[in-house]
């Protein structure tokens, strides 16, 4: 049976909240199939509906409509059986400050019929040295690892992690990534949400890009990137009026219009942005000379030019016209 292979299956999922300004559809017709084994990521900006989606899948929220099956079971009839087999780390949990790491893990272990020793869970997340420390004394990264250890202590088949590395320093992030990868490598399934594209790229075998409560793209990070039609991005800006015209988004200003840039050799995509222009190219060594020649003939001077590999960020921007993390204007 096909569904037996699936860790998660949901179809037509919606969740509507009533707010002061009227109803808000946090999840708006979301379909998802996650197969067993490996790491699946829900990638999207803040407010895209990732947390609402994962909490519905975790059985903590009831959907307004739609079907959910986790490990081949529905929440309503199999809550206890499901709880025994999944591990959860919420976006933010402040564990009891005055309990030690070991005591916290023993408490969580006691709820599961089978599972691992608290000491083994501690070792998995490299908290062995902190065995007797009170939770209140742990750093942010250590607390997050404890949260993951609490999710692992019941030896789950399916692990849910909501924004596991938000707010962590780079070293703590890498440590957590390693823990998550190891878990996935043992044939178990991880579902995580993130708004970090690098996290999704490095960690996830499959990514669903979510925006406004819907899946707008699905595939492996490599697939999604390949769909842009090029591996590289060339970003540049020019000095002077032409540059400013482009800044303001007047695409027909001067020679730097979308059509002209698109006609350059090896260019497969053009994006006008507030800070410059970004080209998706298949071969930078072909595209850049062409670009330079064009600028010279128009007497335009480069203010900057950089090249990099295409990322999931570019996928998201191409699909939505917005950045994953819009720091200047945070949305909702």
């Amino acid at each position: 049976m096909a569904t037996a292979e699936l860790a998660i299956h949901c179809a037509g999922l919606t969740k509507r909240y009533e707010s002061r300004t009227g109803p808000v559809d946090a999840v708006n017709g979301l379909d998802l199939e996650v197969s067993t084994g490996g790491c699946f990521g829900l990638l999207g900006p803040n407010g895209a509906g990732k947390t609402t989606t994962i909490e519905i899948l975790e059985g903590l929220l009831a959907p307004t409509s739609g079907q959910v099956e986790v490990l081949g079971m529905a929440w309503r009839r199999n809550e206890d059986a499901l709880r025994q087999r999944i591990g959860i780390s919420l976006q933010e949990t402040r564990f009891a400050e005055k309990l030690s790491v070991h005591e916290t893990l023993s408490l969580f272990r006691s709820f599961y019929r089978k599972g691992m020793e608290p000491a083994a869970a501690m070792d998995l997340v490299s908290l062995g040295e902190k065995k007797g420390s009170w939770v209140g004394k742990l750093s942010g990264g250590q607390r997050q690892r404890l949260a993951v250890a609490c999710a692992l202590v019941g030896d789950p088949d399916l692990l849910f992690l909501d924004e596991p590395t938000t707010g962590l320093d780079p070293q703590s992030r890498r440590q957590l990534w390693e823990i998550i990868r190891d878990f996935g490598a043992r044939g178990r399934t991880v579902m995580l949400t993130t708004h970090y594209m690098d996290e999704a790229e490095r960690l996830c075998d499959q990514v669903a890009v979510v925006d406004h409560g819907k899946v707008i793209a699905l595939g492996s990070p490599a697939d999604l990137i390949a769909r842009l039609g090029g591996d590289h991005v060339v970003e540049f800006a020019v000095n002077g009026a032409a540059g400013q015209a482009a800044d303001a988004g007047h695409h027909d200003a001067g020679a730097l219009n979308e059509a002209a840039l698109m006609a350059l050799p090896a260019v497969s995509g053009v994006r006008m942005e507030a800070t410059g222009i970004s080209l998706t190219v298949t071969q930078p060594h072909v595209a850049i000379p062409g670009l330079l020649q064009m600028l010279r003939s128009e007497s335009l001077e480069l203010a900057r030019l950089t090249t990099r590999h295409v990322s999931l960020e570019d996928v998201f921007v191409t699909l939505t016209g917005r950045h994953l993390r819009d720091d200047q204007a945070p949305s909702s």
Partner: protein, 351 residues
């Protein structure tokens, strides 16, 4: 590894958290004992039969001075009077401030100046008049004598200790459970716990159970302090006192769970707590008897859980009543707890 029962783990977690919080220890165990000691001393050290009398010196020194001095020596010769001579103005001020109980104007006929709503002043009037009339030669038609007894069990401290015990059990149950529950909700710890296979009843039972365990030292401390410092003895069975106290602890923690079952903020739960506790603080006979309130209010007052707890504790501690004789109150108290717990379980918000 031996996997402990989740109920046991939940219970030990609560106990650990509590006993690792020094401030909580003080407010739960230290404060009530200090309160008992403070109130006990305040009401014990007041000399029981010293009447503070001001004799007013007349404005014409020649006649009045000797009159006032004579009266002072007359009163001072008898036990129980604290006499001072003051002018009329001074003594009026002293009466107002409560520094004296009564003022006397000497002369052909004595005049007593006092406030009839002050019980100690009314008493002073009778005693001063009695002393002065006798000194002036009044003969009593029948002779009488006094046989003083002090009976532990009828003093204010005797009344106070069971009341404090009840108050403490109420405060501990409501604050101890309500505050902790809402705090866990704010921290999203409740949500994290229901994301595990934990049984919800295990959690709630552990909360109530932890209160019973915290309550035990509380009861023992307060009763020992009462006994050692003020000789407040338990006349009835100690086991009965313990049983009633435990029932109180459980009932009030049920009420605490109910109060906290939906609150999303500490401020909300604090307000609700005060709303629930204030009527009981005033009406349920902690510091003074609830019988002082009008008869019409009595059915309501007697139905309050703290009234039931306080009255049955007083009956057993002060009068030596049996557990059976308090049956109706105890069933009432248990009903408060049971119904609260059931409603809390039903309405409880985990996230």
């Amino acid at each position: 590894m031996i996997r402990h029962h989740p109920l046991r783990e939940l219970l030990t977690s609560r106990l650990r958290e509590f006993f690792r919080e020094p401030e909580a220890i003080f407010w739960v165990y230290g404060f009530p004992v200090l309160l008992a000691i403070g109130l006990g001393i305040a009401f014990r050290e007041k000399p029981p039969d010293q009447v503070r009398v001001d004799v007013i010196a007349a404005s014409q020194p020649a006649a009045g001075e000797s009159g006032a001095a004579t009266m002072r020596s007359t009163l001072a010769a008898q036990a129980g009077f604290l006499v001072e001579i003051h002018t009329e103005q001074e003594s009026a001020a002293r009466l107002r401030m409560g520094r004296s109980d009564i003022a006397v104007v000497p002369g052909e006929a004595f005049q007593y100046i006092y406030d009839r709503t002050r019980p100690e002043s009314v008493l002073a009037r009778a005693r001063v008049d009695d002393a002065l009339q006798r000194a002036a030669g009044r003969a009593d038609p029948v002779s009488s004598s006094d046989k003083p007894v002090t009976q532990p069990g009828s003093r204010y401290i005797d009344f106070l200790i069971p009341g404090l015990l009840g108050m403490n059990l109420m405060g501990g149950g409501l604050w101890g459970i309500g505050f902790v529950t809402v705090d866990m909700r704010v921290r999203k710890l409740l949500k994290r716990l229901v994301a595990t296979p934990m049984k919800k009843t295990h959690f709630l039972v552990a909360m109530v159970g932890s209160r019973m365990i915290f309550g035990l030292p509380e009861i023992i401390l307060l009763l020992s302090a009462g006994w050692l410092l003020f000789e407040v003895a338990v006349r009835g069975s100690l086991l009965a006192v313990l049983f009633i106290s435990m029932l109180g602890a459980v009932s009030f923690s049920g009420l605490g769970l109910l109060v906290a079952c939906r609150a999303q903020k500490i401020e909300t739960v604090s307000g609700l707590m005060n709303l629930v506790m204030l009527p009981m603080w005033l009406l349920s006979g902690i510091f003074f008897s609830s019988e002082r309130f009008p008869t019409a209010a009595q059915p309501f007052i007697q139905a309050l859980p703290l009234t039931m707890l306080n009255e049955s504790l007083r009956a057993v501690i002060l009068e030596g009543a049996t557990l059976m004789s308090q049956g109706a109150r105890l069933v009432g108290l248990a009903a408060w707890g049971g119904i609260s717990f059931a409603l809390a379980l039903r309405w409880f918000r985990w996230s």
